[in-house]
Amino acid sequence: MSKPTDLVQGTLDLLILRTLTHEPMHGWGIAQRIQIVSNHVLQVRQGALYPALHRLEQQGWIRAEWGDSENNRRAKFYSLTKAGQKYLQKEQANWERLSSAIGLVLDEARS
């Protein structure tokens, strides 16, 4: 089994934060959203999702609240904090810089 390596570690944080920019969501919803938006390329496993959510909460990037979801089920909703927004912007810029750099190298290698 090929491991989703360390890249995923940082990337998952980024994906979660990005997903939360629209509205507060619960864990299952986050996983679903990422899966759908990525055309089922990215599958977020629970084993990685919940530790990541707890870590982000501990760092103060997101905050959690219990609330009612559709058909009156209680769920823990995560939302982005101010610090989290700033962090996301920074990380997203980093990521774009990195991926475009990688893209450049790959293109150059192809030609």
């Binding site: 299952w28 103060g60 823990k76």
Partner: protein, 900 residues
């Protein structure tokens, strides 16, 4: 804001753990339910939907643990849990716990005790207000052309009086710079003159140190205005309470110091005993130095280093700035003398700031620390061994914990917590014991060192932040030392195997565990061998010192020691005194010879200078002595060649020399030494001259006990040595009253002179006592080491036997007899023992020369010790392995084969 949120989250997970856990549970459950619902709506049956969701979800408990891990406060909870668990484990095996704690208490306690002594001398700042602003300042003088002459008194980093005045006046960095000359030994006059130790100081001494007088006042600047004018003195609290019985009206009274009347102006507060390790009983202005040391011109001689300096930094000045500024002053001094290069060194103001004091004490202290540290390592090895054996018994427990989701790191942490608990308990016990006993032990050791009545130590041997942190750090270090290897090993269990087997006799992992165990025992034996050999050598040295024949006659001879030069005698008066003393002593009933010498043989002071052949082809640094004509007769040293000095030569101070046999051989091999010339020192003030050899005497251990071949030269005691001569009184038969009679003679000549009278045989004690203390210490350490090592060997063998019961049973069933089994067990045990012993012997051979000063001629590779001690160790090792091996012989093959 973010911080606040973070902290409140952590607090919540710490104190509302249950609620946080419930929430996590609910969150994960709701996720699962959603997934199931999603699966159902995708067309699965409810049962299948649940199954798929569960499978996707994975290990719930592991996931929860991971989430908890993210809360970051886990370690606090884990720690609390580990401590509870560890305490329970320790309570469960009280025998193991008690042995481990006791061993550790011993090891850590001994280490802490030694450290407490070193700390109070070398690390702790002076006991004065704001001591962190104080720095010691010393200078080091070199010369570009290599011929700078400098007279050094006590320490090479000292400065002359004129240099001190330059530094004090021209520096811009100190609010005050003081100078002092410690170790000023002098005579306190009175009904019975007694030696007293004090310090000469600049008059700002107490101001710079910011000390307030207990009584009266300290020095004013006017006290140092004119040399020799202001005979005032400050007494220490203990001198005031002791010698002067706490006289409340002491201020203003006169005391006689070295025949000069000083007026007491004040008493220092209790607890302040000067700025060096040796306590001062009095302080006098350094401009009064002539009263204490009349022979030299301390104030006028610009080339005489005799003052130490301490400065108080102005607020905001760093010690680098101070050093730079003093260097500027020093470069001004450099310009006064061609080729002079001065370097400034600043240091922390401790009692051990002087290099000449610090170096030897730190070396000796370091050696003792090393020895005690080795014993602590032995203790660690033993506890590691015990832990390994315990870990083997706990394999199953550990495997279970690994299986249900504990991470390896978590397990190691838990095992280490147990070790840490042991070490901290042991360390606390040891540290408490050492803080209580170190002062008593220190006093005991001092009482057994050569006595010097005026010598008291200014050390305050109490615990402080340094000592507590040292004990704590040492405990943690020990815990890692003995706990890490067993914890790493134990947590590497192979789950399936460990779970399947019954845990009693598995062979898996025992090979590397056995190797670890063997190397532990091997290193124990090596350390033990090292300590045993050292104590063997030292004991042999002590025996030699007790039984040695120094090569000269000591019986019925009293050494009469006094210092006329510092008592203010001129050479003329000294000569008259010596003549009268000689005549009156010779007239005492029973006395048959009165000899004179500047150095008492094997005494605690000696003269050293260089001598060379006229063509400079051979040049040696050597001890020499000025002696009267009958010196050789009184000491029974035979003249082998040529002749001794005549009385007339001794009186005239003729330039003649007598060599010891070895010295003659070194200078003039294969030639007749009589009539040859030697060029070298010996005159007062180190003036060099030519000396004609007139005789050769037998070698004797007059310089160093145990070494008769040390180079030694005798010159006749002439008019130039009258101030420095001591007297040896020989009586025909033992006379217990002779000391008293000599005392009344000297008191009759000069009641103010402080005189020590002791049998010549007593000088040997000066050499024996340090040997005795070191030997006792090394024997104690060696015995503890042997005990610990034999426990280690015993443990290793009995564990090995218990592991191999079945194998032994099979061997016996196949016809092996008791001897074979015994051989099998003992052979395996002896491999690490022999290896360790060999390593220990090599180590000891490599370092044993450091003891040579107290071995008294016993070779550092003394075959006696290097044979007997290994034999002793091997015997004990065989015994320690024999007892468990006997158990192996009693194995019943039938029982053993069923043993499961």
């Amino acid at each position: 804001m973010r911080w606040f949120a973070k902290i409140s989250l952590r607090m919540r997970s710490l104190f509302h753990r249950r609620a946080a856990d419930d929430e996590l549970d609910a969150e994960l459950r709701s996720h699962l339910e959603r997934q199931i619902a999603a699966n159902i709506s995708a067309g699965m049956s409810e049962a299948e939907a649940r199954r798929v969701a569960m499978r996707e979800f994975g290990g719930v408990e592991q996931l929860k643990e991971e989430c908890r891990e993210m809360r970051k406060i886990n370690w606090i909870q884990d720690l609390a849990q580990d401590i509870r668990y560890g305490l329970r484990m320790l309570r469960k095996s009280p025998g193991f716990t008690a042995i481990a704690i006791l061993t550790l208490a011993l090891g850590i306690g001994a280490n802490t005790a030694i450290f407490t002594i070193l700390n109070s001398a070398a690390l702790r700042l002076l006991p004065v207000p704001h001591a962190d602003q104080l720095v010691t300042a010393g200078q080091n003088i070199r010369s570009a052309n290599g011929n700078m002459h400098r007279n050094v008194h006590d320490d090479g980093s000292f400065v002359s009086y004129s240099e001190y005045r330059a530094y004090a006046k021209e520096n811009r960095v100190f609010s005050g710079l003081l100078a002092y000359s410690a170790f000023t030994e002098t005579t306190l006059g009175g009904n019975k003159p007694q030696p007293i130790m004090g310090t000469l100081t600049s008059c700002n001494y107490f101001n710079v140190l910011e000390i307030r007088p207990e009584l009266g006042r300290f020095f004013a600047d006017s006290d140092c205005a004119a040399p020799g004018e202001s005979a005032v003195v400050v007494l220490s609290d203990s001198a005031w309470r002791g010698t002067f019985a706490g006289d409340p009206a002491i201020v203003g009274k006169p005391v006689m110091l070295n025949r000069t009347s000083f007026r007491v102006v004040g008493v220092a507060p209790p607890g302040f005993e000067g700025t060096v390790t040796v306590a001062s009983s009095f302080w006098a202005p350094l401009t009064m130095v002539k009263a204490f040391r009349p022979a030299d011109d301390f104030l006028g001689d610009d080339d005489l280093s005799w003052l130490a300096m301490i400065g108080r930094l102005k607020p905001g000045v760093s010690s680098q700035q101070a050093e730079a500024n003093l260097s500027v002053v020093a470069s001004g001094l450099n310009s006064l003398q061609a080729g002079r290069i001065t370097t400034i060194t600043l240091g922390r103001a401790t009692l051990l700031a002087m290099p000449s004091l610090r170096t030897p004490i730190l070396i000796i202290g370091g050696l003792i620390m090393a020895a005690v540290g080795l014993v602590l390592m032995l203790a660690c090895a033993n506890i590691a061994n015990l832990l390994l054996a315990r870990a083997a018994g706990r394999r199953k427990e550990i495997a279970v914990r690994l299986t249900v989701g504990a991470s390896r790191g978590r397990l190691i942490r838990q095992l280490l917590t147990e070790s840490l608990l042991l070490a901290l308990l042991g360390g606390a016990a040891g540290a408490l014991a050492s803080f209580w006993s170190v002062a008593a032990i220190f006093r005991f050791a001092l009482a057994h060192l050569p006595k010097d009545p005026e010598l008291a130590f200014a050390l305050h041997l109490n615990s402080d932040f340094h000592t507590w942190s040292y004990a704590f750090a040492l405990s943690v270090l020990t815990a890692c030392l003995f706990g890490l290897a067993p914890a790493l090993r134990a947590s590497r269990a192979d789950l399936t195997l460990a779970m399947k087997e019954d845990g009693a006799h598995s062979q898996t992992g025992t090979i590397s565990a056995g190797r670890l165990r063997n190397s532990l025992v091997g290193s124990q034996v090596a350390v033990c061998m090292l300590l045993l050999l050292a104590s063997g050598l030292l004991l042999h040295g002590l025996y030699r010192a007790q039984t040695i024949d120094p090569g000269f006659q000591m019986k019925n001879t009293e050494a009469v020691v006094f210092d006329l030069s510092s008592a203010g005698y001129t050479p003329q008066r000294a000569a008259a005194f010596q003549r009268q003393l000689h005549d009156r002593l010779a007239a005492l009933p029973g006395v048959d010879e009165v000899a004179q010498a500047t150095c008492i043989p094997l005494g605690n002071s000696h003269d050293l200078t260089g001598f060379s052949t006229p063509d400079k082809s051979k040049s040696y640094e050597m001890e020499y002595n000025h002696v009267s004509a009958n010196f050789f007769r009184v000491l029974g040293i035979p003249v082998l060649q040529g002749r001794g000095f005549t009385d007339a030569e001794a009186r005239s101070g003729a330039h003649l020399a007598i060599l010891s046999q070895s010295t003659a051989r070194r200078f003039f091999p294969g030639q007749n030494p009589i009539g040859q010339m030697l060029h070298g020192g010996g005159e007062p003030n180190s003036r060099v001259a030519d000396w004609q050899v007139v005789g050769v005497v037998a070698d004797a251990q007059v310089a160093t006990l145990g070494d008769s071949r040390k180079l030694y030269l005798y010159e006749p005691a002439g008019p130039g040595q009258q101030q420095d001569l001591k007297v040896m009184v020989h009586s025909a038969a033992a006379d217990p009253a002779i000391a008293k009679e000599i005392d009344s003679v000297t008191a009759g000549l000069d009641p103010e002179l402080s005189v020590t009278i002791a049998p010549l045989t007593e000088v040997l004690e000066f050499w024996r006592e340090p040997a005795r203390v070191v030997s006792v210490l090394s024997v104690i350490l060696g015995t503890i080491a042997l005990l610990l090592a034999s426990i280690g060997i015993y443990g290793m063998v009995s564990y090995g036997v218990s592991r191999r019961v079945r194998e032994i049973g099979i061997r016996m069933a196949l016809g092996a007899d008791n001897r074979d089994v015994m051989w099998l067990v003992v052979r395996q045990a002896m491999f690490p023992v022999l290896t360790g012993a060999l390593v220990g012997m090599v180590l000891c051979a490599a370092v044993s020369t450091i003891f040579s000063a107290i071995l008294f001629g016993v070779s550092p590779l003394d075959p006696g010790s290097f044979i007997s001690m290994p034999l002793l160790l091997l015997t004990v090792a065989l015994l320690a392995s024999y007892i468990p091996a006997r158990r192996a012989m009693r194995v019943d093959p039938m029982v053993a084969l069923r043993y499961e």
